[in-house]
Amino acid sequence: MEIAFWILSAITVIGAILAITMRNLVHCVLSLILFFLGIAGHYLLLRADFLFAVQVLIYIGAVAVLILFAIMLTRHVTGTEGPREVLGGKWWAGMGTAVIIAGLLWAIIRKDPLAAMLPAGMASTSVTEIGRALVADWLVPFEAMGVLLTAALIGAVVIALEEVIRKR
């Protein structure tokens, strides 16, 4: 378990670093997929196999593929010219954000350990438990989320349609 954790962590970190430093956009996305896979492996290690499947299905199967599709429609995929700037002149902003998030996470984990938050019955993350939780205990937030996403989807369609009409 220990070894698996370290290997997966290494894959995740390397994937993340490559995703922001590679010069070729497609290579970036492929590294991002590596990173997603590492995260999925971590879920598996935590015995959250439903989350693992969802991670692979949605992040690799849908999100990454959508990004790839968008890249395929663009022209300049490789950025070999020009100076190499990852953060540009605003590196301090990135650093600041990283420090704040790290501090926040540390504070949260320290104050409210996740184990204490979980009800006794939730130790298993089987599909049945997740399903019960979603449509019984957390029904209202779940439905609200659904409505929100649907609204966002329709909004995106409307915006795209308007553009098409204007072009005509």
Binding site: D49, L57, G61, A64, L66, F69, M72
Partner: protein, 409 residues
């Protein structure tokens, strides 16, 4: 795997009995095998299903290509391969040797690393798919409680290989093929998963083994197959269409449409890399056929199947017989139907398959809540038929007009 774990010590004992005759190493090896340490037992229990999957299914793939060529030949009133061995039985070996000895060509301006990686990635998800396909009563490499979801998650990853191969080749046709493949797989994933949801609702589990088990019983272990339910029949058709589109089989082979874009994403591949692409594609197709069998055609259930060694062997026979039937069906369809157009493909997925699969989910709900079976039969059948007629009318209302032929009769 659990079952293998139980059988493994006996297997090892048998092996030690066999190897005990060997001079020099015979005695110590036999002693080690007859009383193995726990880690070794675990390793053997893990290795056996893996060996089964990587030996049996590629073998099926090899002979599927032969059967396909023979059957397509007969469909077109030809003979098909009959030169290598009797009835061409050694043809797959000849093909393999030919592909292995071919020159491996990489285009000069290709993205070499991604170009190399793509065929490898094409095979991995296809092999992983078999880990949740039960080949007999209780015989599944890994009994995941999210089996079906795992299968879908893995099968979407296969589209990455198509994209990588198409993009890295630096070839217009490859890129076109990759774009078509991505668009097609993403669109057909949705109705396919929704068709599977109906089965998951009826079986009450995501585990493939549990779904197969739920179809046992009835007369001769046959009548409870999901395909003999109104919603199951519709789901079977929807899922088969989706699976064929997902694995890019004719009539949905537009990502590699030979007459339009040469070979699509694997235009620039030759030799062993091409063979890997073919292997991945066929394995995915066979695995999808296996999942279709598990979800709709009763899985390993059939007359005589059940627990125990004899029942297990019979159940394996039934599974592979049904798998062969599905493979033959796909070949038959490939030999008959023309390729769909890209726009037809998309409108068919979004205007017919998707609404129909949602309607099918409602039908399963009705089936579940109407306790009296005859009424449930009538109601769900009516519901599905009415929707089918409505949707086909809606989809067909535009674009189809009677064509006037001026010169041809």
């Amino acid at each position: 795997m659990d079952q293998v774990y139980k059988v493994a010590p006996q297997l090892l004992k048998f092996l030690s009995y066999l190897l005990g005759w060997l001079p020099w190493i015979g005695k110590p090896v036999a002693g080690f095998l007859s009383n193995p340490p726990a880690w070794f037992l675990l390793a053997v229990a893990i290795a056996i299903p893996i060996l089964f999957v990587v030996s049996v299914f590629p073998g099926i793939f090899a002979y599927t290509t032969l059967v396909e060529r023979k059957a397509l030949g007969r469909i077109q009133n030809r003979i098909g391969p009959n030169r290598v061995g009797r009835w061409g039985l050694l043809q797959p070996i000849a093909d393999g040797v030919k592909l292995l000895t071919k020159e491996d060509i990489v285009p000069r301006s290709a993205d070499k690393f991604v170009h190399f990686l793509a065929p490898v990635i094409a095979v991995i998800p296809s092999v992983l798919l078999f880990s949740v396909v039960p080949v007999g009563a209780g015989l599944v490499p890994v009994d995941l409680n999210i089996g079906i979801l795992f299968a879908f998650a893995i099968s979407t990853a296969s589209v990455l290989a198509l994209f990588m191969g198409g993009w890295a080749s630096r070839n217009k046709f490859s890129l076109l093929g990759a774009m078509r493949a991505v668009a097609q797989v993403v669109s057909y994933e949705v109705p396919m998963v929704l068709a599977a949801v109906a089965v998951v609702m009826a079986a009450g589990s995501l585990s493939t083994l549990a779904i197969a088990k739920a179809q046992g019983g009835g007369i001769l272990n046959v009548t409870h197959w999901f395909v003999f339910r109104p919603w199951g029949f519709v789901g079977f058709i929807l899922f088969t269409i989706g699976a064929m589109a997902e694995s890019a089989r004719t009539p949905f082979d537009i990502p590699e449409a030979e007459s339009e874009i040469i070979a699509g994403y694997h235009t620039e591949y030759s030799g062993f890399k091409f063979a890997l692409f073919q292997l991945g594609e066929y394995l995915a197709s066979i695995a999808m056929a296996g999942i279709t069998v598990t979800m709709f055609l009763g899985g390993y259930n059939g007359p005589g199947s059940g627990p125990g060694i004899l029942g297990g062997l019979i159940s394996m026979f039934w599974f592979f017989a049904k798998l062969g039937g599905m493979i033959v069906l796909t070949i038959w369809i490939r030999g008959t139907w023309p390729r769909v157009r890209v726009d037809q493909l998309m409108s068919f997925a979004w205007k017919v398959l998707l609404p129909m699969s949602i309607v099918n989910i409602v039908a399963v709900g009705m089936w579940h809540y109407i306790a009296i079976r005859p009424i449930a039969w009538v109601v769900t059948t009516l519901w599905l038929v009415l929707w089918f007629i409505t949707l086909s009318k809606l989809a067909a209302s535009e674009n189809i007009e009677k064509r006037e032929y001026r010169y041809a009769s």
